[in-house]
Subunit: 223 residues, 2 copies
DNA sequence: AATAAAATTTAGACAAATCTAAAAAATAAA
DNA sequence: TTTATTTTTTAGATTTGTCTAAATTTTATT
């Protein structure tokens, strides 16, 4: 039997993993705000994760996932993203309504379940938000992407990922018909507020703020 | 937002519902043994369920589900059985390996998820064990389910469940081309050893022993 | 270097779900 | 109808995860 961890512990591992990826480093306060909880609760949990050897931690000095902790985090992320893919591709959910549900489904234990699901879905490489899905060994293919602020004007590109994945930004993008795989190009950048005008084929131009642009990643053939 | 109950409470509701269905009545000890827990823990939980108006309970006098408790129990059962159907029909699990996983999946909250799943599966009426799946209003179609010993002669019926689920009986039934969904009728009952002769369309008659007949359940429309 | 501010941890509490041991009530047997 | 047995409930603990308030440590500012 594979060791099982509580949903709460799995959520902490996942949060720590994400923060480690973005900044190189994580703090107690970072985790507290990511998890919508109190710093004192984070400290409590850090001790428990350390006791389970999922975390390297010395009080006041900082912490990071152990090799085992990282492995567990990647499996939760794998489950989260496969379930999101399932919800969108098989149950016709919108990409902006699957995160909450996947947040629960990711804690279902069976390894066989998730490997069968992966197979059923045809071994998808990325989830509905463009994020890579780790394989059953916890590996993923790194795709390099640029955010829209850094996409050259008039360069055709394809949306390949979203940074911030709040329901709010997804709703906004949805409304403007911007989604994974959307082909677009930047027509104008306004220096005043760094807003950007985009053109999607067969649509009238749309404008997005700097805040949004920073969170939309695209890939394009750079010759 | 629909009220949410803990997995533990949902499991208790389900257990109480099942015991109510089988016997007309449930006791603290029944629940304890069904849930693999202690009578004292059951009493603790009965008080909590009563406080939430899911249970009608007076100490030492007995208890039963309230209308609301029954409704909740039926929704958990609906989810359990739909997930079992999904696991068998879509992920190619054996019918003998899905129960444990469904025991976890049944606690996922989203109502939309389960209704979409139902639709995706084509609104199945029974789970892989032949048990009826309640619809989204908690209703199920009452089809008379009897074992083959009690099926009237010449009454067309459909195999809807197997009692004993050992590999041995499954092998025997498999050999005789009897499985879930098989349409058949009883042509003759032999008083000598209670063996039974069956007819399946386009096949020559087959005989099964009393022991086998007792473990094959069928349903038929009772007019 | 001394002080102020911020981050982190500890102390002590609470709710949920479970347990063991003991008490109380209901039921069965004598 | 007493007495014995079984069932059910209570009392008091324990574990997990969370919280507030206070103490401690680190970091930033004079
Ligand atoms: Mn989660
Ligand atoms: Mn995602
Ligand atoms: Mn369950
Ligand atoms: Mn079943």
């Amino acid at each position: 039997m594979v060791p099982q961890y509580s949903s709460s512990r799995e959520n902490y591992l996942k949060a720590i993993f994400h923060l480690q990826e973005v900044h190189g480093t994580v703090t107690t306060n970072d985790v507290a705000s990511e998890m919508q909880t109190r710093p004192a609760s984070v400290t409590d949990m850090l001790k428990k994760l350390k006791a389970q050897k999922l975390l390297l931690y010395e009080k006041y000095k900082g912490f990071k996932l152990s090799t085992e902790g990282r492995k567990v985090a990647l499996q939760i992320i794998r489950k989260h993203r496969l379930w999101e893919y399932f919800l969108v591709e098989k149950l016709r959910f919108g990409w902006d309504e699957v995160h909450e549900i996947a947040e629960e489904l990711e804690h279902i234990g069976s390894k066989k379940l998730i490997d069968r699901l992966d197979e059923f879905l045809g071994f998808p490489k990325t989830d509905p938000h463009g994020d890579p899905i780790p394989d059953s060994q916890g590996r993923w293919t790194l795709t390099r992407q640029v955010d829209l602020l850094n996409l050259p004007v008039n360069q055709q590109a394809e949306v390949s990922g979203i940074g911030d994945q709040s329901a709010e930004i997804l709703e906004l993008l949805n409304h403007k018909h911007i989604g994974l795989g959307t082909r677009l190009e930047v027509k104008k950048k306004f220096a005043f507020d760094n807003s950007i005008e985009l053109k999607i084929k067969n649509q009238s131009p749309v404008t997005i703020s700097e805040h949004v642009a920073k969170n939309v990643f695209v890939k394009y053939d750079d010759e």
